[in-house]
């Protein structure tokens, strides 16, 4: 007597159900994609309307830009991710930041031989503003930071290091770990640091302090003053601007990207 393999039948049925389920699943995704496409069109219209009323506000008002960026971040949207994105195309935010990126790269390159690829946000801000001329839009430090964050993806070693109340911007692919960062922060107050200071404030052994300082020297980010009274001082040219501001010389400008 034949006994239908309950197993076989069941499996067959199950397979059929699965196939149907899969089919429905595919249809569901198709539906949703269509829905997304429609919603996207609607959103584009909303954004166009917003742009027609407030595009100027974004261009002219740095505080409003910050609000805008923060809101985007909160909901999980990156308006600067692509020049082809709606935000960029309709609000013009893209061009603003991408051009700023170019200016930042050029300034950092022009000054690299002097400061080893480390520059304070203030100095960068000053130099960028100078380069933009009197009639360009206002650019805030927040704008610079956002542009720099986008530049990281180019692999050139762009980084942002918090020191004191401000930031140092790194623009070379040098390895800077926590130890280096801490020393930079220590040096921020006076523009230089000594081994004794490191020992007393950070409680490090001399060897560790020396290693970190030597790395900074090698990278050109620190200069050694052996003629200082007492012990040698390690100066950070990136922090010099408080002492004297310098213009980019024509030679330096030439070394920057043509």
């Amino acid at each position: 007597m034949h006994r239908r393999g309950v197993g076989a039948g069941a499996i067959a049925k199950k397979k059929l159900a699965e196939a149907k389920y899969k089919e429905r699943g595919t249809v569901l995704a198709e539906d949703q994609l269509a829905q997304m496409s429609k919603q996207l069109d609607m959103f584009k219209t909303n954004l166009e309307e917003f742009a027609s009323k407030h595009k100027q506000e974004i261009r002219k008002n740095p505080e409003f830009r910050v609000q805008f960026q923060d809101m985007c971040a909160t909901i999980g949207v990156d308006p600067l991710a692509s020049g082809k994105g709606f935000w960029s195309e309709m609000l013009g935010v893209g061009d603003f930041y991408y051009e700023l990126g170019v200016q930042i790269i050029e300034v950092c390159l022009a000054l690299k031989h002097r400061n080893g690829g480390l520059i304070t946000l203030e100095e960068l801000h000053q130099q960028v503003l100078k380069g933009r001329g009197k009639f360009a839009q206002d650019v805030s430090q927040d704008d610079l930071l956002r542009a720099i964050k986008k530049l990281k993806v180019l692999g050139n070693g762009f980084g942002i290091i918090p020191v004191g109340g401000t930031y140092l911007i790194q623009s070379v692919p040098a390895e800077l770990n926590m130890d280096h960062t801490v020393i930079l922060q220590l040096a921020e107050k006076k523009g230089y640091v000594t081994v004794s200071e490191i020992r007393s404030s950070l409680k490090w052994e001399t060897e560790r302090a020396k290693q970190v300082l030597e790395h900074l020297l090698k990278e050109g980010m620190a200069w050694l003053d052996t003629q200082a009274a007492g012990e040698p001082q390690y100066w950070l040219p990136a922090l010099f601007t408080e002492l004297y501001s310098q213009e980019i010389t024509p030679e330096e400008a030439k070394e920057a990207i043509p």
Partner: protein
């Protein structure tokens, strides 16, 4: 003098101060009146006279009442004057110091001079008739309340008022902008949720989603600026946009690459391309995503990532390993070189010079001398002279 009305002396919105002069005496026609020592102010809309001793005593006349003006030269013991001929007072004129007058003109006597400038300015204002373009909310204010007597220069109060109005206007614009922005973000948030839901479906049924659908989805994400929830990687890679971009880049970069020895860092490329475009610039991510597709599209350029993380674009025909051989020659000739020195000699950027030397070292051709004076490379004699 019956055309004058009492006023607080505060400038209206849209009214600007043009010139003012101290030491002015008023005449009703030929007769002196008690207003013998005051500051005369000319605005775009009115002539205002304020008593120097009693600041609350302030009268004004709209410029629209002026028919024409004449100069009267100074004489012995007589100050220079300006004669102002006026239209009859309008019936709805605010109360003033004089109910009636037998004259249809007044005189402004400049005891402390200043009449030349004043005359010039007054002529200008009467000719330009700027009060017609800038209607004020009230033409003349009545201020009988002496408690309002705050001693302030009319000009400054007017300016402050205007700044305040402007601030309020700006605030209104900003708050409207924020409101609109919030509403917009709500809608954007819905898009993000929807995309997450779709991504989940895709994840569950890997292989059942067509290639086409995936590409469509990615391009939607690209438009919105949403990261790809499935792969978490840079969304947008693999969209038609990036494919097109890659092909464009291959065209744009051919010559610059040849001019630079076949290799350029990605930051250089970014600057070059965007400077050339001027508008509709590429984002850094756009560039990277496009470059990632170069090889698969069989284009004559490729993206290369060094150990240090530095990213470059090379011509396919470029062979960095071969360049290493010539680098070794150069270093040998000079005995030793730092990246800076090598860069200057060869005419490369320091960044790429360093990468080449590091590669040479990796391949065993060069040795490093790492000291506080910098990183210096020597030919690897251990290898060649063992």
């Amino acid at each position: 003098m019956d055309r004058f009305a009492w006023t607080s002396g505060l400038l209206e919105l849209g009214e600007t101060l043009v010139v003012q002069q101290r030491g002015v005496r008023l005449y009703d026609g030929e007769e002196k009146v008690k207003f013998d020592s005051g500051v005369l102010l000319l605005s775009t809309h009115r002539l205002i006279w304020r008593d120097q001793k009693n600041h609350e005593c302030c009268i004004a006349i709209p410029l629209s009442q002026v028919v024409f003006i004449e100069e009267q030269a100074a004489g012995i013991g007589k100050s220079a004057k300006i004669v102002v001929h006026l239209h009859p007072a309008s019936s709805n004129k605010e109360p003033g110091p004089f109910q009636s007058s037998k004259y249809s003109y007044i005189k402004l006597s400049f005891k402390e001079h200043g009449q030349i400038e004043f005359y010039r300015r007054l002529s200008e204002e009467i000719t330009q008739r700027r009060w017609e373009n800038m209607p004020t909310s009230q033409t003349i204010q009545v201020n009988k309340d002496s408690q309002a007597g705050r001693i302030r220069a009319v000009g400054i109060v007017g300016i402050e008022r205007k700044l305040e109005e402007k601030r309020k206007e700006t605030d209104k614009n900003i708050s409207e902008a924020f409101e609109d922005l919030s509403k917009l973000m709500e809608k954007a948030k819905e898009m993000v949720e929807l995309s997450k839901s779709i991504a989940n479906k895709i994840k569950e049924k890997q292989g059942d989603i067509t290639e086409d659908e995936t590409i469509r989805f990615k391009s939607y994400l690209l438009s919105m600026g949403i990261a790809n929830p499935v792969t978490r990687e840079t969304y947008g890679s693999g969209t038609h946009y990036h494919m097109q971009l890659a092909k464009q880049l291959a065209g744009i970069l051919q010559t610059p690459l040849e001019e630079r020895g076949g290799i350029m860092s990605l930051t250089e490329v970014y600057c070059l391309v965007n400077r050339a475009r001027g508008l509709e610039l590429l984002s850094p991510e756009d560039l990277v995503n496009a470059c990632k597709m170069l090889e698969s599209l069989k284009l004559p350029l490729r993206l290369r990532i060094f150990d240090s993380g530095v990213m470059v674009i090379e011509l396919q025909s470029h062979n960095e390993e071969e360049m290493v051989a010539s680098a070794l020659e150069t270093v040998s000739e000079k005995g030793s070189l730092t990246a800076d020195e090598f860069a200057k000699l060869v005419g490369m950027s320091v960044l790429l010079a360093k990468e080449r030397l590091l590669l040479a070292e990796k391949m065993g051709h060069l040795c490093r001398d790492d000291s506080v004076e910098g990183l210096r490379f020597y030919p690897n004699l251990f290898l060649t002279q063992s």
